[in-house]
């Protein structure tokens, strides 16, 4: 066996070294012309060899080609002018390139004739969004939202009305790895999920992977959403911002040392609490309010030709408060939640083929509720506080070895020290002689090692194969798994490719949610000795066709995914259940959860036009998602809440003139599966000490008294009405002496569809003393117009 491995290794080396003597490497960075911002995923093509490559996350590329004289290199990128350069390829060359934005007033144009086609990439099940695309899509109250635009892509579903949580291929919102500059973001929403916390002005790239995960990604079952913040303009100070109905935002960026170092600071805050405060205080003793803010900051510094440092961070908080002062009683109630992340990254270029990045990452999410109650005259205090959270410290190391145009190796490792506080509880009630301080901290170490290669043995076939070793240390047990990954693309013709992928994933941390919507109360918990890791296997297959004129890509994908050890609350359990009432068990969330299985399968269709006056896409998803838990629904299978048979999104942006852009979105989705009561009955309690009820005359009988309760039969036994909505936005752009301004008027839910948010039952009296039961529907958002003013200077 050893001989076999040795022979294989030598063969592999020989293969790699084949032709080395006659090849040269052209390498460098691709940046934006005006700002010096590094560009991710720029396509570099060598027409004479019919080969090419792309830039990595830091704008680095490396192209090794046979020795030749002068060759032509074409650099192209969506939204930028393509550039063609003549390069002398008779030696290794360092060749840095700046691309000029080809964007006029928000339009996405490509003036070159060649960008990377979908059919050429080995990637499948991937969605790339340009932040400027996000800005064109009409949105609720004018708040541009990356996650809500992703919800318009096939395979990605929203939860409930207005919610920014994403459900990818039947997976829950905790199964999405959301990364901002390498830092994990645990709760990606503001205002109970109505707005995401990602400020589009500060983002450079957004990529969502739904399947066919490369080995470098791990730790979640269903998707990876990788976002990178802008580095900041290295050449000049500029900024952009906006004033909306509920919030305003401002981003400023510029050089600290021109051409060498830059800074970006971006902030956003809502102001309903400030505006409303005088009115609330005028009419009420209660001072109540809500606000959220977020702040992104990034600084980078070139340490030389081969080294660069980045320091970036995100800080955001939501707070709801209610202060009441009356009749000698001061009550102060509120809840708050927030994320903070920090990433220190060091890029190092070993040589023209080997690029490394080292990241030190801090990430934290905290949720808390407090209630302070004070009787001033009697000096009696009540104080209660509940909070939960997670804090990570991580070290990550990634290597890119771009051996040739046929092989791009990536390898690396990650270690995360998780510190969970599933819940901490303090209750002090002096009169009642209560003083409870309950804390429980759980720790876990998650690590992963990976290696992958994107290999193109022949021009028509490309494969990305990799292996990830993942490991988690719970308090006593350790878990480790090998996760094979494979994606392949076979081009039938110049513009038609068949793609297939397989991915095995493990997830060591879990979010348990007792509600159907994303709330800050959702609890992050680790894999423990009792709670096993979640696992998934996913296969996908698809066809991609690129049309040249008009430049449209069409894709059709099918997938099948199985998930094991998916967690959910036991029936009736709540995050506030700090102990099991009526038992000696203390704070133990593990008793409140149950593990089960899930299956998801379906087909996704996408037709997309990214260039020209008219851009947009049509996405359609046909899918099924079922779940099964021993402790839920009597062990029987049930439809997941967000099982959605049909999901359609139509998105279009049309530049009528240079100064006017009109955009529209229409969405349709099968109704959510929810649990509705089938009937009611009287449930009797047992209290043998009383004897007033139900006693037959002359008979001694214990007292039984009851409550009216509902029979729910099976979980998620009912389908809500289908959801659909049309949004429209018109943008008016104008160049000013100081820069550019845009007025946007938008209408959310233009035809005022009353989509169901939830149902409840209600009884009313009819015919005197009879009762009539009805199913009532609550809708959230009617037609909502909004006006937003944006500027760039």
């Amino acid at each position: 066996m050893k001989k076999f491995f040795a022979a294989s290794f030598l063969l592999f080396l020989a293969f790699l070294l084949h032709g080395q003597a006659v090849k040269h490497t052209i390498s460098g960075f691709v940046r934006e012309d005006v700002s010096g911002e590094s560009l991710i995923g720029v396509n570099i093509y060598v027409p004479s060899f019919k080969t090419g490559t792309t830039t990595n996350t830091y704008g680095f590329y490396s192209l090794t080609i046979p020795q030749s004289g002068t060759i032509e290199l074409v650099f192209s990128y969506v939204g930028y002018n393509s550039e063609t350069f003549q390069v002398q390829a008779d030696r290794d060359v360092e060749f840095n390139v700046s691309l000029k934005p080809g964007v006029v007033l928000g339009e996405v144009t490509v003036k070159g004739d060649r960008i990377e086609k979908q059919s050429e990439s080995v990637k499948m099940s991937t969605v790339n969004l340009q932040p400027r695309q996000v800005k064109n899509v009409p949105s609720l109250l004018g708040e541009k939202d990356v996650l809500k635009v992703l919800q318009l892509m096939p395979g990605v579903q929203k939860g409930s009305e207005g919610n920014s949580g994403i459900y990818v291929r039947g997976g829950g919102p905790d199964q999405n790895l959301i990364i901002l500059d390498d830092a994990i973001v645990y709760n990606a929403s503001h205002l109970f999920g109505f707005f995401s916390l990602f400020n589009g002005d500060a983002l450079k790239s957004v990529e969502l992977t739904k399947g066919g995960f490369p080995a470098r990604f791990g730790g979640r079952l269903s998707s990876v959403l990788e976002m990178n913040m802008k580095d900041g303009n290295r050449e000049e100070w500029n900024g952009e911002g906006g004033i909306g109905l509920i919030s305003s935002r401002l981003t400023v960026e510029g050089p600290i040392k021109k051409g060498k170092s830059s800074l970006l600071v971006s902030g956003r805050r809502t102001y309903a609490d400030i505006v409303m405060k005088p009115f609330i205080l005028k009419f009420s003793d209660e001072n109540t309010g809500y606000y959220f803010y977020d702040l992104n900051a990034k600084v980078n510094y070139d340490l030389g030709q081969r080294d660069r440092l980045y320091l970036s961070g995100y800080f955001g908080k939501d707070k709801f408060y209610l202060k009441n002062k009356s009749q000698g009683v001061i009550e102060n109630v509120g809840f708050l939640w927030g994320n903070s992340t920090g990433t220190l990254r060091w890029n190092h270029l070993f040589n023209n083929k080997l690029f490394a990045n080292t990241s030190f990452i801090y990430s934290s999410y905290q949720f808390g509720i407090y209630d302070k109650y004070k009787v001033v005259t009697e000096e009696k205090d009540f104080y209660a506080e509940y909070y939960s959270g997670i804090r990570d410290l991580s070290l990550k190391y990634d290597l890119d070895f771009i051996h040739s145009t046929r092989h791009w190796f990536k390898a690396g490792g990650l270690m995360i020290f998780h510190r969970f506080k599933p819940h901490a509880f303090i209750e002090v009630d002096v009169p009642a002689n209560i003083n409870i301080r309950s804390f429980k901290v759980t720790e876990g170490v998650e690590s992963g090692l990976y290696a992958e290669d994107t290999w193109q043995p022949v021009e028509s076939f490309k494969v990305n194969a990799g292996l990830r070793f993942s490991h988690f240390i719970a308090s006593k047990n350790q878990y480790h798994f090998l996760e094979p990954r494979l994606s392949a693309a076979w081009r039938f013709s110049n513009d038609l490719a068949l793609k297939a992928s397989y991915a095995s994933m493990n997830q060591y941390i879990h979010m348990i949610s007792g509600t159907g919507i994303s709330l800050p109360t959702d609890l992050w918990v680790p894999t423990t000795d009792r709670i096993r890791p979640q696992q998934s296997r996913q296969v996908a297959m698809g066809l991609v066709k690129d049309l040249k004129s008009p430049e449209i890509s069409v894709s059709l994908e099918g997938y099948y995914k199985t998930m094991q050890n998916v967690l959910g609350y036991r029936e009736g359990a709540s995050f506030l259940e700090l102990d099991e009432a009526g038992s000696g068990l203390g704070v133990n969330w593990e008793d409140n959860v149950t593990a089960g299985k899930a299956w998801s399968y379906g087909a996704e269709f996408l037709i997309q036009k990214k260039t020209g006056r008219f851009t947009g896409w049509v996405g359609y998803t046909l899918s099924w998602t079922q779940m099964q838990f021993d402790s839920l629904n009597f062990g029987k299978k049930f439809w997941a809440r967000y099982d959605r048979r049909h999901d359609i999104s139509v998105v279009g942006t049309y530049r009528i003139k240079d100064r006017i852009t009109i955009s529209g979105t229409w969405v349709y989705g099968t109704g959510n599966a929810v649990t509705l009561p089938l009937s009611d009955y009287t449930a009797l309690y047992h209290n043998p000490l009383r004897s007033e009820y139900g006693i037959p005359p002359g008979e001694e009988l214990p007292f039984l008294f009851g409550d009216r309760v509902s029979d729910y039969s099976e979980k998620n036994n009912f389908r809500m009405r289908a959801y659909h909505r049309f949004d429209l936005g018109i943008q008016f752009h104008k160049q000013k002496r100081w820069g550019e301004r845009t007025w946007e008027i938008s209408f959310y839910n233009l035809y005022n569809r009353k989509n169901p948010f939830y149902y409840y039952t209600e009884e009313e009296s009819v015919n005197g003393n009879e009762l009539y039961g009805r199913l009532k529907q609550v809708s959230l958002f009617p037609i909502i117009p909004s006006v937003t003013y944006s500027f760039r200077f």
């Binding site: 709540s574 995050f575 506030l576 009432a581 000696g584 009955y681 309690y685 209290n687 009405r721 149902y759």
Partner: protein
């Protein structure tokens, strides 16, 4: 603490604009299926054991809570002997002089009506255990109601759990307390309490404690009291059923998934379960 979470949702609920509540149209509501609702708590200490039988009722359309359950018949069996059940106004019953319920034994219940509905259920009576009930009194802040800042006479009841087995309990108490007001007026205060069900999870073999508020407040001088404490040793199904009823009404989160009430009735709803009773009389003179 749970009131805090209710505050938490005020803002969210406030987001729902008025007038967005409508009848759900173009929605087919679930069809009504009649089921027998059976509730039986049996004990070796009963002279007559009662099994209450009612029906569920539809909630969409005309609500008729008095659904007829038809003519009932049924039996109870210990696997060897079977006894038919008698009917009474609220269901079925059996006299333990004809069919004895014994400690530790398993019993099968079968009930049907003349319309084709039938249910089955099983329970197992807890084993007889030598429980020692200890009780004492203390003047402590009242636990319930509007007078939480005042003190009342409270019973501290302790029971040592039987180790190495799962046990479920409940404690009840009733009594009469005599006192004298500052004005000199004599008062008699009677009470009847039934506490929350308890499990020995996490307290196996240890002492379990209950604090029972008699409601006799400290502005009156205590003269005498006669209080009976009952310890109910129950089946797990008894515990699960009552816990699910408590949770049903007190989830604390309006957006939480629905909480079904526990049932061990095959083909119907409700519970068929059992308990045993020990008691202690506590007197103050």
């Amino acid at each position: 603490m749970k009131k805090i979470i209710k505050y938490c949702f005020i803002f969210l609920i406030a987001l729902i604009p008025e007038g967005c509540e409508t009848d759900a149209v173009n929605v087919k509501v679930p069809d009504f299926e009649q089921k027998l609702v059976v509730t039986g708590f049996i004990s070796p200490s009963d002279t007559v054991s009662y099994i209450f039988v009612t029906s569920n009722w539809p909630i969409y359309g005309l609500v008729k809570t008095d659904q007829s359950i038809g003519r009932l018949s049924g039996s109870i069996s210990d696997g060897v002997n079977t006894a038919p059940l008698d009917t009474f106004r609220k269901g079925m019953k059996f006299d333990q002089s004809r069919f004895k319920i014994n400690y530790g034994k398993k019993y099968n219940l079968s009930i049907r009506n003349d319309r084709g509905l039938s249910v089955e259920a099983t329970c197992q009576i807890p084993e007889r255990r030598p429980f020692v009930i200890m009780a004492d009194t203390a003047w402590l802040p009242m636990r319930h109601g509007w007078a939480m800042n005042e003190k009342s006479l409270q019973m501290i009841v302790k029971v040592k759990d039987i180790g190495n087995e799962e046990n479920f309990y409940n404690v009840g108490s009733k009594g009469i307390i005599s006192g004298k007001l500052p004005s000199g007026e004599l008062i008699r205060h009677s009470f009847n309490n039934y506490e929350e069900v308890k499990s020995d999870k996490g307290l196996d073999g240890q002492e379990l404690e209950w604090q029972i508020d008699t409601g006799f407040r400290d502005y009156a001088r205590l003269i005498s009291a006669e209080i009976t404490i009952y310890l109910y040793h129950t089946e797990e199904s008894y515990y699960l059923y009552h816990r699910s009823l408590e949770k049903y009404h007190d989830n604390g989160n309006p957006f939480a998934e629905s909480t079904p009430v526990y049932s061990n009735i095959t083909g119907g709803l409700g519970v068929f379960t059992s308990y045993t009773v020990d008691s202690l009389i506590f007197s103050i003179k």
